[in-house]
């Protein structure tokens, strides 16, 4: 079967700066894949290109959620989300004036339909849908372990919980692939360990494949089935954790002392 995400020869230029340089990447169904590299390597830009926030200068992004491959580069962000790619942000972007529950409820937007008239008249189908949204959102919060915060304003959450809420919100869009941008950044070791478990659970119980950008090597090595290493927008290594650990180019460019992690 074709991979659920296949990126072919992607390049992204910002004026004279080549942030991504002919990158190839694929993810099979059910995989947890990590994308690592030093700061400024182009990892976040890569996410932005896949999700339609930027349009890549060249290259192809193909998805294949149900056995039919489909090109998605050039599509708008909201369409990409509806096709089943959800993401979190490295610099947390929660809806700050809304409660935790409402943040997740917004995530349900893509899978619901109530329009202006439906909202005003609040008929049977609207009420049913609203109930569905609330229950689904609460379910997700329970899975992520944030249910004690339901009615709290999102900004008042501790940092680690905000990162988790980003994941919860992304899951509400019913993705087949979750793109996590440094989910453990700012978390303490205890929280990181819990995150490790949580990501596994999301993959195993929800059947959502995962592409992960992360600097925490312990987390990356324990979670991922395959790892891509980028530097200056170029792929400099790819393989299972063992191979990456022993790849001299990668060690030189990035891992350095952390090789024993």
């Amino acid at each position: 079967m074709k991979p659920i995400l296949e990126v072919k020869n992607m390049t992204m230029d910002f004026g004279g700066l080549r942030a991504i340089d002919s990158l190839d990447l694929y993810i099979n169904k059910g995989e947890i894949v990590a994308l690592i590299g030093p700061n400024g390597a182009g990892k976040t830009t890569f996410f932005n290109c896949i999700t339609g926030i930027y349009t890549p200068t060249s290259g192809d992004v193909l998805i294949n959620p149900q056995g039919k491959q489909e090109r998605i580069n050039g599509l708008k962000t909201n369409i990409v989300t509806r096709k089943g790619l959800a993401r979190t942000f490295q610099n947390i972007r929660l809806f700050t004036s809304m409660t935790v529950l409402e943040n997740v409820m917004v995530g349900c937007h893509a899978v619901t339909h109530t329009g202006v008239m439906g909202a005003i008249f609040r008929g049977k189908s609207t009420l049913a849908e609203e109930k569905f949204i609330v229950e689904k959102s609460y379910e997700i919060l329970k899975k992520i372990g944030l249910e004690k915060y339901v009615d709290e304003l999102a900004v008042n959450l501790p940092y680690g919980a905000q990162r988790l809420l980003e994941i919860a919100r992304a899951m509400a869009t019913d993705p087949f692939l979750l793109l996590l941008d440094e989910p453990a950044a700012g978390m303490n070791p205890q929280e990181t360990a819990e995150l490790d478990e949580l990501i596994l659970k999301i993959r195993d119980n929800e059947g959502i494949s995962i592409l992960l950008i992360e600097h925490d090597m312990k987390l990356v090595m324990s979670l991922s089935e395959r790892i891509y290493v980028v530097d200056y927008g170029k792929k400099i290594g790819e393989g299972v954790p063992e191979e990456i650990r022993n790849n001299p180019v990668v060690i030189k460019a990035y891992l350095g002392e952390e090789i024993d992690a």
Binding site: I53, T77, N78, R93, T96, E102, H109, E130
Partner: protein
């Protein structure tokens, strides 16, 4: 910062103010005797005044800073708590309802008319609240939609004899259409840029109305716009004023009802998401363009209907009623009351429109007071008088 520093800063501020106001406050040319009067005592007053105001300002700022350091999430204020009390809702509605029903019979026609104006502003404020308070789009040309509504009724009535009851929804629809027409080209703009373009749009509408004589009768405006009638009855002047009062009350209730439902729906959440973070909002599968256009159109609708009522109430309209200042006042009602909060916007509008009416002497300082109050609000209570509180949901916690 030490107290000495504070005093020094305030002292400098007062000297600066004395210097600034020197030509205005101190020098006076007596044109009769051709002499210059030096009013030094004014300078002393300015100096002392500026010094104390500056101290006060600093004190408040300091308190503000201390407050935000201590506890960021103090619970909802007293008014919110009252609003949230379920057992107070029904009596509250009954009291306000009775008062409103009896209002035109207790008070004079003059006061009823003022109240009608104030309620029109409530409607405008609630409409603008969708655009600014919920969707976060800074629209400074909102009065244009008010004009569209008023002129729709005036012109449709003049040329085709369209009656108030048909013009009311039509005015709303036309305004919504204009909302989309304005919204479309500004889809990519945000913040200040959006504010400038919408401001320009408002002025364009006014200038067109002022100069296109064949269409809108220019600055002389349109007179003899009929008041709304009840089929089969002939209302006296007093009767029709009371009738309009009840119409606008009904419309305000309708507006509150609709906006409340929109706010707590999929559509409303999309607006707030858009305001909070455009990129995250799109990443949730929300169509940015559609969401913005919806906000512009639904916001404009209320202004359009308000315009129809306004035309019917005054029976005469001309472009002078639709200047940028109207937009500013409507904006003030939203900001002062509390962006995104229905109760806040209502009290903001009532306060801003009724106060100047009853404090007539105060009239010439109205704009200055508005400005001062807004600046103070922004610094010390950015959420407005009645801050918006998000809805919470009940669960069987299992």
């Amino acid at each position: 910062m030490t107290a000495k520093d504070e005093i020094k800063k305030s002292f400098l501020a007062s000297i600066w103010f004395m210097f600034l106001t020197f030509p205005l406050m101190v020098i006076k040319v007596n044109t009769v005797t051709d002499t210059v009067e030096w009013r030094w005592h004014n300078m002393v007053l300015v100096g002392i005044g500026a010094f104390f105001l500056s101290m006060l300002w600093r004190y408040l700022l300091k308190r503000q800073a201390d407050g935000s350091k201590k506890e960021k999430k103090e619970g909802p204020g007293i008014i919110q708590r009252l609003l949230q009390k379920k057992e107070l809702t029904l009596p509250g509605i009954i009291i306000i309802g009775c008062f409103t029903l009896l209002f035109p019979h207790i008070f004079s026609m003059y006061q009823t008319n003022i109240m009608i104006s104030a309620l029109i502003y409530v409607m405008l404020g609630l409409g603008l609240n969708i655009v600014i308070g919920l969707a976060g789009l800074l629209d400074l040309g909102y009065v244009a939609f008010f004009a569209v509504g008023a002129y729709s009724y005036a012109l449709l009535n003049l040329h085709y004899g369209v009656v108030f009851w048909i013009a009311l929804p039509l005015g709303g629809l036309l305004a919504a259409l204009f909302g989309i027409i304005l919204g479309y080209p500004v889809l990519r703009l945000r913040g200040d840029y959006l504010a400038i373009v919408t401001l320009g749009f408002g002025e364009i509408i006014r200038l067109v109305l002022e100069n296109w004589n064949e269409f809108s009768f220019g600055p002389s405006g349109i007179a003899n716009i009929p008041k709304p009638g009840l089929p089969g009855t002939d209302l006296s002047l007093q009767g029709s004023t009371i009738f309009i009062f009840y119409i606008i009350v009904a419309l305000v209730i309708f507006t509150i009802f609709v906006i409340n439902r929109l706010e707590n729906s999929r559509i409303g959440r999309a607006w707030i998401a858009l305001k909070d973070d455009e990129i995250a909002c799109q990443s949730m599968g929300i169509n940015k363009a559609k969401t913005k256009l919806r906000a512009f159109a639904l916001g404009a609708t209320w202004a359009g209907m308000g315009g129809v009522v306004f035309a019917a109430k005054t029976t005469f309209i001309n472009p002078a009623s639709f200047t940028i200042w109207e937009s500013v006042i409507i904006l003030c009602t939203v900001v002062l009351g509390g962006m995104g909060s229905i109760a806040g916007v209502i009290s903001g509008a009532l306060l801003l429109i009724l106060l100047p009416e009853y404090l007539r002497d105060f009239g010439q300082f109205r704009m200055i007071t508005f400005g001062a109050v807004l600046v103070l609000m922004m610094v010390f209570r950015p959420g407005g008088m009645i801050e918006n509180v998000r809805k919470t949901y009940k669960f069987e916690k299992n």
